[in-house]
């Protein structure tokens, strides 16, 4: 925002309140109420307004207070953010970033626990990235803002408290690249967002037991970085996807298909996938825990794969 005066933020409580998860804290004081615009509660319309502003020259960052609320903005995200550059024959670009917290939290209830990446992934014309650490959150945010494409940036409700040393100097990450988190040779584990941390937790146990997993945070949910993913599969011949989307129609489903299409010859067995249950996330803690993948399940699955039991 300091670098480019056309960058502005639009969303509920982004200004005076500093954002529901304090992502925009202090920005309204610094840049003013028009650049950090507190909107009334009308997601479809203010997202559309952000699109119209982007079409005519601004670089808008629209926040969904919770990504789930953007279901109300599906009309604008699909028809206008995704498609308008195409239907206008390339005349208008929509350099918009749509971002916000999503995923399964701590007993937030079904509607506040959704995985919108699953629903939006089919919309043509959109790019989607998921951040998982302070380092990649900053780098991906900058890249998304500077991109001329409409980018959806998925943050996670439970990751805002992470702390990490990050460089003082400016850095911008590549929107289309995956991140090699841990090199290894036994199995390729593809993951993103909060599940990265569960995978790392499981990896501690796996390493103690003598396994050597290669862990890749795919970061780019659409498009997939087939180079990084492919190179890993060519090395390990086994792939496990660990995601928070539901079994049906999630990022994992698409990624499995892409792996089968592109790397069939390099696989020793089918691409495995651990996903959330096809269930509205329950409120009760025990049920909620059972809805999402847990580190213990990741350990079991990797062991089975490495022992040729699946």
């Amino acid at each position: 925002m300091a670098r480019d005066p056309t960058v502005c933020v639009i969303g509920e409580d982004v200004g005076h309140y500093g954002g529901s998860y304090k992502v925009t804290k202090g920005l309204a004081e610094k840049f003013g109420d028009l650049r950090v615009l507190d909107t009334p509660i009308c997601e479809n319309s203010f997202t559309g307004m952000g699109i119209g502003a982007a079409m005519t020259g601004l670089r808008t960052v629209v926040e969904g207070m919770n990504m789930g609320f953007l279901l109300l903005a599906y009309n604008q995200i699909s028809n206008n953010a995704g498609m308008l550059h195409y239907t206008s024959g390339g005349q208008f670009k929509i350099p918009i970033v749509i971002r916000g917290p999503g995923g399964v939290g701590k007993q937030l209830g079904a509607e506040h626990s959704q995985r919108l990446e699953s629903y939006f992934q089919s919309v043509p014309g959109l790019q989607m990235v998921a951040c998982s650490t302070p380092y990649n959150a900053k780098g991906l945010m900058k890249a998304a803002i500077r991109s001329d494409n409409p980018v959806i940036l998925y943050e996670h409700v439970l990751l805002y408290n992470l702390k990490e040393r990050i460089p003082d100097e400016e850095y911008v990450l590549c929107l289309e690249e995956a991140e090699l988190v841990r090199p290894g040779k036994d199995v390729t584990i593809l993951t993103y967002s909060r599940m990265r941390h569960f995978v790392l937790q499981a990896a501690k146990t796996l390493v103690e037991r003598g396994y050597d997993p290669e862990i890749i945070d795919i970061r780019s949910l659409k498009p997939f970085d087939l180079f990084t993913i492919g190179n890993s599969i060519k090395k390990t011949h086994k792939v496990l996807i660990v995601e928070e989307c539901m079994r049906t129609g999630g990022i994992g489903a698409s990624l499995r298909a892409a792996i089968v299409d592109n790397f069939w010859d390099f696989l020793d067995g089918r691409p495995e996938c651990l996903s959330s249950q096809d269930v509205p996330t329950p409120y009760a803690a025990t049920l909620e825990d059972a809805t999402v993948v847990q580190p213990a399940q990741i350990v079991v699955k990797v062991e089975q794969m490495c022992q040729g039991l699946v």
């Binding site: 119209g52 502003a53 028809n79 239907t87 024959g89 014309g125 494409n149 180079f227 990084t228």
Partner: protein
Amino acid sequence: MAASSLASRAVASLSPSISTGASRDDAGSSSVVGFHKRSSAFTGRRVRISSGHGSSAAHGRRSCVVAATAAPVKESPPKIADIELVTREEGLELYEDMILGRCFEDMCAQMYYRSKMFGFVHLYNGQEAVSTGFVKALKKDDYICSTYRDHVHALSKGVPARQVMSELFGKATGCCRGQGGSMHMFSKEHRLLGGFAFIGEGIPVATGAAFNTKYSREVLKDLSVDAVTLAFFGDGTCNNGQFFECLNMAALWKLPIVYVVENNLWAIGMDHFRATSVPEIWKKGEAFGMPGVHVDGMDVLKVREVAKEAIARARRGDGPTLVECETYRYRGHSLADPDELRKPEQKNKYAVRDPIAAFKKYLLENGLASEADLKAIEKKIDEIVEDAVEFADASPLPPRSQLLENVFADPRGFGIGPDGKYRCEDPAFTAGTAEV
């Protein structure tokens, strides 16, 4: 003034039809504070409009709109209200634009039935006064945003007939390279922001363009930016959430926008009165703190008067206006609509109010043009439209290689392939021959 006298002035009619042109006695004398000070172009009663928050200090209250008409519909053609005469030059420009709209749409119907254009095509016949009246009051830098009934808005804004016709024929020379079609007319050069298939979805986009003007002036400190945005949409849209949500935001932030309702009384087969609890759409402006104005949308000069005021209001920073244009479409909702529900009596009522016939009469009666002048214009337009068809016919269809070109502004969005190169660098990919 107390609220009660406001109520007594506001005669809101619940009857289905709203008046025709004002008689010479009625119009002319009203003073309209905060909106314009000379004779009102509005039909019927005296009208007071204040701009809401800012400039109603003179009246000591924050009131909004009252535009009221209650006269019954007359069968005879309307008399054009006592507005200042247009100049000959302006008159001919308006006439030519309306003729272009009518002639173009008639040609579309022919071309559709000859299988030159396909899909859903929604024609504008009968509504020309709204497009001409509003769009010709704009500056080149102003924006407009339309719906699926967008051909004539595009033409009025200056998109060449050739480009619109080519787009309709699905040719590569269309304004959107053949990728949009009838319902998605766009022009960056002429500031046409679409062309939308879902009703209501263009209104936020228009609101965003208006927000950009405010942002440019107040954040970027560029006072040379004073673009006003017009959002066109229909009566059916006024029951949609995006309509209300945007009226709220535009009034809240005083955005330089005019919301133009083309109330042609029908949303496909849904009669406005069967769909709408309070059918007077202009009244809904007041609920959001903006003037709501009703105008006879079959009368290009009345529309133009209202348009000029609303656009000026927006441009000087006083905020949005809601304008309800009472109009009618002479054809069905689309070329696929059998149009069985509208009764002949209603159609005839509006047929005699043809905006082009009325304006022609006005020009002739006031000595602004001769029959020969108007015939010359009609001939010129015929030639333009014929030329557009010939051009579109002769234009090439888009090649297969065009398929993926405009999916992304930055084609790196297609991602990195297994070989480590960006997909967009692979000619086989962009030609649509590689495995995607």
